[in-house]
């Protein structure tokens, strides 16, 4: 593809910001534990797009290598998070986030 100029880069950034913000809002709104983690994955997705967009913009492929790292982290996080969720679910048979609020001030 040809030279990625700033304006088109902005477009991609728009999408990535949108995804990131939606992920964040999702995390804050939804009370189901799994969906909250899903939303974090959505945030990862936003980041990936921004990474690749900038990599393309700066003609430096490191951005894409970082996507790989992002993926590994996302995968590891998903594994652990879901194991935890299962554990919590077995403990209290509910996925409601507000059930776990014993760390009160």
């Amino acid at each position: 593809m040809t030279q990625l100029d700033s304006y088109t880069l902005a477009h991609f950034l728009l999408t990535s910001f949108a995804l990131f913000t939606l992920g964040m809002i999702g995390f804050l709104i939804r009370r189901n534990l799994i969906i909250m983690f899903l939303c974090t994955e959505l945030m990862f997705q936003g980041v990936v797009i921004a990474l690749v967009a900038f990599s393309r913009f700066h003609h430096n492929v490191t951005g894409q290598t970082f996507v790989i790292f992002v993926l590994t982290v996302a995968a590891a996080e998903a594994a652990l998070a879901l194991a935890l969720v299962v554990l919590l679910f077995r403990r209290k048979a509910t996925l409601d986030a507000s059930a776990w609020s014993s760390l009160k001030g």
């Binding site: 995390f27 804050l28 009370r31 986030a97 609020s101 009160k104 001030g105």
Partner: protein, 672 residues
Amino acid sequence: MTLQPAILIPWLPALSAGLCGLCCVRKSWRRLAAPLTIGAIFASFLLAVLVSPAVKPFDPAEPDLAPHVVTLFSWIHVGDFRVDMAYFLDPLTLLMLMVVCGVGTLVAVYAAGYMAGDRGYARFFAGVSLFIFAMTTLVMADNLVLLYLGWEGVGLCSYLLIGFYYQKPSAVAAAKKAFIVNRIGDLGFALGIFLIYSTFHTVSLAEVLSLAHHVEEPTTAHLWIPFLLMLGAFGKSAQIPLYVWLPDAMEGPTPVSALIHAATMVTAGVYMIARLLPVFELSPYALPTVAIVGAVTALFAATIALCQYDLKRIYAYSTISQLGYMFLGVGVLSTVGGMFHLFTHAFFKALLFLTAGSVMHALAGQLDLRKISGLRTRMPITCLLMLFGCLALAGFPFTAGFFSKDLILADVLVRGLSLHQPLYTTLAVVGLVTAFLTAFYTFRLWFRVFLGPTRYELGDEHHAADGAHAAGHAADAHDIKIEHVHDAHEMPWLMNAPLVVLAVGALFAGLFCKSWLAGLVTQSSAAAAAAHSLHAHATLCGYDPHLAMEFISSAVAVLGIAAAAYFHWLNRPAADSVAARYRGLVSLLNHKYYVDEIYDALIVRPLRALGGLCFVLDRLIVEGLVALVGFLPRLLGLGLQPTQQGALQGYGLGMAAGIAILALLIALALGT
């Protein structure tokens, strides 16, 4: 004969005070205290006599300092504020030394007998010799600060000696009262010294006198100096506003009352004004004020003395009254009259106190007039000695008291007439009325005690311990011999000898010493000399005023004695009926116009309440504030606590909102 030996005059009693202090340690050494003190005071007296020829008159006009000042060592030298331990000797000082050491020796001899057997024997004599040290320092002080040292020193000794019977709460209270009232006076005196230093930049007596002498138009500061010094003098010599401590000072042993509260300490105020006359002349109103206060105090005290029943209280009020006379004398610039009355008063008042002491001693502490009568058969010598004293006090013709009081009244009258100021004539009349009252209450006492049917009740204290223990306490018999008093008896000769000397002084001092004393005083202060000569040749409706005043005052004295004789000897029921008719007035006078109660209500109690308030304020407000400052962090913590609810998403929301706002702010900052 140089002035060097004069240095020893104060330091000998100081040494004896130290030694007596050591005597307290061993019981066996107690005996030594009396001879030590008597020896030291008499040595000072001899030294004063020894040094007298070398003393030359001091004229503030041209202060040639050398011959008068004997410097010991420099006490406080800060910048131009130079104060050193130095003694200033001139005829006035000499006179005071004679009085202090002379009467001091006689009283010490008397006290040796009077205090025999008391547990605090050595402590008493330590106090007396410390007092003599302080008094001589006061009298011989070369600068005002040293005078202040003597001033507070005598205050301290009166505190220690009034509170000698420290077991009695009333004695302790009286001692505290005496010291505090003196301290109020001393504050005035100290402020006077500060003002003198800030105006004249020196505190040395000779310089201050000469500078004051040469001042033409006094500034406002000059006006204030005499009034401040006056406050000090009135505090020490128990004049109107600050006299309340003297009657209570009678709680102390009688020799103390005789020496300190009659002859020497209370006259310090008169000496100070006589010494600082040029300073008092700075303000035209100062000396008249002194005269007025003196006269008013004399009258006021005399009226109270009329209705007192306690022997020593009567004499205390009579001392205040006589001091009023002295201030009246000094106030009208008749320093000669003032000092002469001081001289004679020292004798007969000491005599009266000591004879009263003998009566008290004989009747085991009984002092109430109503419970004593007709002791002439039991104690003839004391009766006779007290008679001489009373005659002198009343101003019976040709006694010492007569001459000195008459001189003052004459000078006042003369000043009133010659300067055509009605003020002084009224003061002279007040003086005469007071003379009548003095004669009346003196002989009221004498007739009551010695004449009339002989019946008396013994006091409750043990003879020897003499009030050392409050009623009801068993005296710890093991260390003092107890003579159980069964009846009034005459005093041993050891105690009566000094009384005889005093009696001689009381009777004949007037005749012989007048010219000698006039010489001394006129040499020491030019103003006194001028006034003395002025007074010499004024006229009162054709006659020489002095002669006229002699007739009038002797008439008044005789009249007073006759009235006292009628009421208190021949026709006592008549006195009782008169007293009954004016019951209100009598009780008022007996309660000393309730002045003590007024002072207590107006000053003491509010101050104590203020103290209480301050303490509460201190604990609540000031500590409260500190505690509040300590509490603030905890308050903050409580405020923030609700935000930590443990809800995961709550925190998440907090973070998100934070980031959003932060980004907004950065964008705004970058954007504009």
